[in-house]
Symmetry: D2
Subunit: 362 residues, 4 copies
Amino acid sequence: MKNTLGNVLTVTLFGESHGAAIGAVIDGIAAGIPVSEEFICEQLSKRRPKGNISTPRREADSFKILSGVFEGKTTGTPIAVMIENGDTHSSDYGEMKNKMRPSHADYTAQVKYGGNQDFRGGGHFSGRITAAIVAAGALIIPALNKKGIFIGTHIKNIAGVEDRSFEGVEDLKNLEGKDFAVLNDDIKALMTDKIEAARKDGNSVGGILETAVYGMPAGIGEPWFDTLEGELSKALFSIPAVKGVQFGLGFGFANTTGADANDQMQIENGKVVTFTNNNGGILGGISNGMPIVFGTVIKPTPTISREQKTVDISTMSDTLLAARGRHDPCIVHRAAVVADSVTAIVLADMLSVKYGTDWLGE
Amino acid sequence: MKNTLGNVLTVTLFGESHGAAIGAVIDGIAAGIPVSEEFICEQLSKRRPKGNISTPRREADSFKILSGVFEGKTTGTPIAVMIENGDTHSSDYGEMKNKMRPSHADYTAQVKYGGNQDFRGGGHFSGRITAAIVAAGALIIPALNKKGIFIGTHIKNIAGVEDRSFEGVEDLKNLEGKDFAVLNDDIKALMTDKIEAARKDGNSVGGILETAVYGMPAGIGEPWFDTLEGELSKALFSIPAVKGVQFGLGFGFANTTGADANDQMQIENGKVVTFTNNNGGILGGISNGMPIVFGTVIKPTPTISREQKTVDISTMSDTLLAARGRHDPCIVHRAAVVADSVTAIVLADMLSVKYGTDWLGE
Amino acid sequence: MKNTLGNVLTVTLFGESHGAAIGAVIDGIAAGIPVSEEFICEQLSKRRPKGNISTPRREADSFKILSGVFEGKTTGTPIAVMIENGDTHSSDYGEMKNKMRPSHADYTAQVKYGGNQDFRGGGHFSGRITAAIVAAGALIIPALNKKGIFIGTHIKNIAGVEDRSFEGVEDLKNLEGKDFAVLNDDIKALMTDKIEAARKDGNSVGGILETAVYGMPAGIGEPWFDTLEGELSKALFSIPAVKGVQFGLGFGFANTTGADANDQMQIENGKVVTFTNNNGGILGGISNGMPIVFGTVIKPTPTISREQKTVDISTMSDTLLAARGRHDPCIVHRAAVVADSVTAIVLADMLSVKYGTDWLGE
Amino acid sequence: MKNTLGNVLTVTLFGESHGAAIGAVIDGIAAGIPVSEEFICEQLSKRRPKGNISTPRREADSFKILSGVFEGKTTGTPIAVMIENGDTHSSDYGEMKNKMRPSHADYTAQVKYGGNQDFRGGGHFSGRITAAIVAAGALIIPALNKKGIFIGTHIKNIAGVEDRSFEGVEDLKNLEGKDFAVLNDDIKALMTDKIEAARKDGNSVGGILETAVYGMPAGIGEPWFDTLEGELSKALFSIPAVKGVQFGLGFGFANTTGADANDQMQIENGKVVTFTNNNGGILGGISNGMPIVFGTVIKPTPTISREQKTVDISTMSDTLLAARGRHDPCIVHRAAVVADSVTAIVLADMLSVKYGTDWLGE
């Protein structure tokens, strides 16, 4: 029961939206991995709000590496990354101290922490904390790439508008440099129109991310409990607003038969492969060498400017709330890089268990 | 990366389908919990194959408690439960040593364990191991009930045939004593017909389970990583054939808006409640006091008697395989009690973290 | 807070002295390690009581491997080892239900488990549980040996009688096959005389074990918390009656100076070695390639037949107790193989973290 | 294998002696604990070097709480504490990049991290990192005090000069405000003379700390592996230079008998107590309600200005080294507050497991 992810390679998060700083400690990462501050910046930039489809809160997300990096490489000791909080409008949130935002964590935090939580801007529950996850992921992703493992996430669905699915590793190139990660560029305007419309309407929309991992070695995962699906899903569910995770056909399996859904097998260039990949690259909790493919659903942003029924916790009475402050009409596109990041952390951890804690730096 | 579930209350599994025994060690469970061997038998009976819709392998699942129970109550020390293997037809599986069953764990086990795995009957990957999970759950469920926490799972969908959803805690009574857990009894025959048909056709079908937890206190879970959703999903994904987990509206959130999907709040009898429960009782990774509701998709049983393309791992060549041996045309109904059991284990663990390791026995 | 040892290679204990069985589950052990039942028997034999210097309770310790071994080798899945309890004289212990044996765990168990513990024969606190540790160690030791890592423990001190210290790896050969492990055979009679005398006197004696590990690679351990010393000591303190652990000079360091105690270094055959080994092969929590050497003190067996002042927990009144039942006047010699075993488990775990979970089987 | 201590209340360390900052993340700490920055300062001051008996490196140790504290109290979310590095003379250490300091972690770090470690000033192995432990402990100690649990450490021995032992809880008052924590004030000059003499001689001395915990409830600890002794010793061994830990009589048990050493029991004011406390308050790995008492030996500071034989790792050749830079002729007195701090962390964690994660803040 900890705010820590991982077994031998771990990431521990800290920070509140309006506190001094947020950050992460990455422990168990191999020594000798080159650290590119530029790449960390690029990754942080992907989750930064942009244009009319995001919150007007704009922060530089300038990070500082406090430890664990020396002469441009990981030392093998814990890396602490800190992102100081700047552009905070704490006064916007005064009303929200006692008025619980529906479908947000305000009330559960109140119960869990007995009223001691830093309520400003969602405190420790703020999506802003995902910047620390992204920074941690950005330390790991280049090392995975060097091992031939590539991760990408695109927006499969926003408010019912669907992108096409991944067709191969070349689709990851297709996503490079995109702030709004769709495979079919024609679909982007349809999606952003939906977001724009929701924003104007004081409303919000949700969607589905699809992530693919190419080059994942077979044999990673455990049969029970620490399955590859279990470890990935646990990590993905900590991205705020995620309410479902499915691998391969996922919930579509309910309407198929074994004969149709089974991934039949063959030898191809001396390697065992499957004709289809309905299982999303995982069988028995363990990677089978095919691409790992999964979908993650993100609910509509709960903070909306429309008036909603809620409660005042100080008086235990019914009240109404129309959110002020800055908020996003959709966070699906901003969450794509977070999905990449938690995936990278989980895979690096599980690979480190199998191959040893030095492997990632070799 | 272990075959262990939990933080302070842990369950460790062991065993292979055709080995000497399977079992579980439950550690960190409070002292003083009454142990009902009769209830354990009842629970084990629920996952036992029955009638034409299941495998002809029939085992008594007679379990033995090796430790941790004294004079009818838990002692507070680790409980080892052992279920000896009886009705094994190992000779059925000779062919399957080298011929990898498509969509099964044969090939991933081969890679992970380098050919040292006990391949007979799926070995450690066999669904039979879930009997040990059920036994562990049966030690915990009565203690949760005593605390006012009640868990139930019904078959929401088999091969496209849908049951109605949970409507209240009284639906759990409705499920009592049912081997085929549906809320709407009229739907049972439609579902079993689908399973029957698949069996006759040498095929298999999948489906969706829906689980509800009533009486769960608010305030349980962590904001990041050890979220309630994350811990539950991790546990659920270790049930063989599970390929997706969703909470509340789940993937349905992609097609809603914040205004429609948000769970607005009110005071009712001095307690904070929500009008709707689209978030399935969890916000910010923490229980909010509403029923916890989630869906789990189970793929069609991969072992089918139809001929399928696969590989022979000893010769690294293409081959064909039509499964012999005994197998289920559908495992959705048998998995319901397993979903209840892992849910009970996860909740008992998370409650023990919050309230202390003695709480469950008080 | 679990009865589990280890990070990626874990050992979980279960069982009570007078229950159905005791045992261990070993998880995360590499696949492909040959399992010798004969060697397990030999190791178990070493801790079995013998002659006049031990308890008359004599058990065959016949173990049964329930899972995780197939065709003579580890499968890579959890290994459950069970040792059924046979020769129990539970009636001997009736008086001890309420009369707390001084310096034993009776009273602390009573408080921790609220009176639900199995009090017969020390229950879960019985030294008998160490047989399961020995069985677990016996699965690992041959694999370490194959890697060139050799572990041995001798009796350094019993009741003030001192054996000489380890002088080199050849001393391990010297210990082979000895039930009473001393390096200087002339000292054995002096020690057993002390034990004999204590037994006749209704008393007991303690002593010190010295363990050496030859062939340990440099670079294993963490700088903080999961130090090699910390992990070893944690494991050693779970051997009943252990009250102190020291590495190298240990408490002797208090009376030296840096100039005298520092292990100066040189190159020998292209390898970095130290002239002395006052640090017992560990610096900064990490192995330095020199032999790992540590001492473990074991207190006199608390159960003695002399009358002692104690309390009756049922009446909360003062009383007297003279232990009946069977007990050892000294357990130092029987604990030597347990020290070897926990050392093997800890090192195998830490090596598996560094080199990966397959390494031990390669 | 992590730089993290604890089960449900965890402390993760980061930082290098000459990097940007050192610090700790404290997770799982209860909400609502008042935080006194003044007390943190006082505690940090205790380990700060002073006078002629310590290194001339003088740092303000001004810490910054980055998260987890709001309006003067813990929020229940992770607390990150950062101490920026100031007074670094990195140039002093140039020679030490390749010349391994005997009995220091230079060589083991070199092997473990493959030469990527930050070698300046001992890097991540520097005693300076213990400032972060002290800061973490200072968040916890007042909460333990409020529960009636009091911890104190005195210098039992420096270079053979002995202080008297603890005689009761009032001795903790005696230690308050002392930078050089002895119970018998007459002994202080004898000890500091030894340190002074060693410094003048280019040498160093070691010693023994004795820690006592008064008011510890009975029933805390596990019988196997996560014993109270095991968890404390594991934590203590991560204090740099610690080479042995003993509870109660410790190594003295080797020369006693059961009749002499057993702690006989009686009822006193309706409570079970022992006449003596030779077991240091712990039986069967579990606290018995008597004071917890243990000794920790600290070796002479390995860095001395005398010339020593060592190796140059860049040329793999023999060389000589006389340490320059600033260093302590003795660190025993500075380590006392660190021993208090790790003790507080371990006990708070184990109490939180037993009583729940909210308990410490109640």
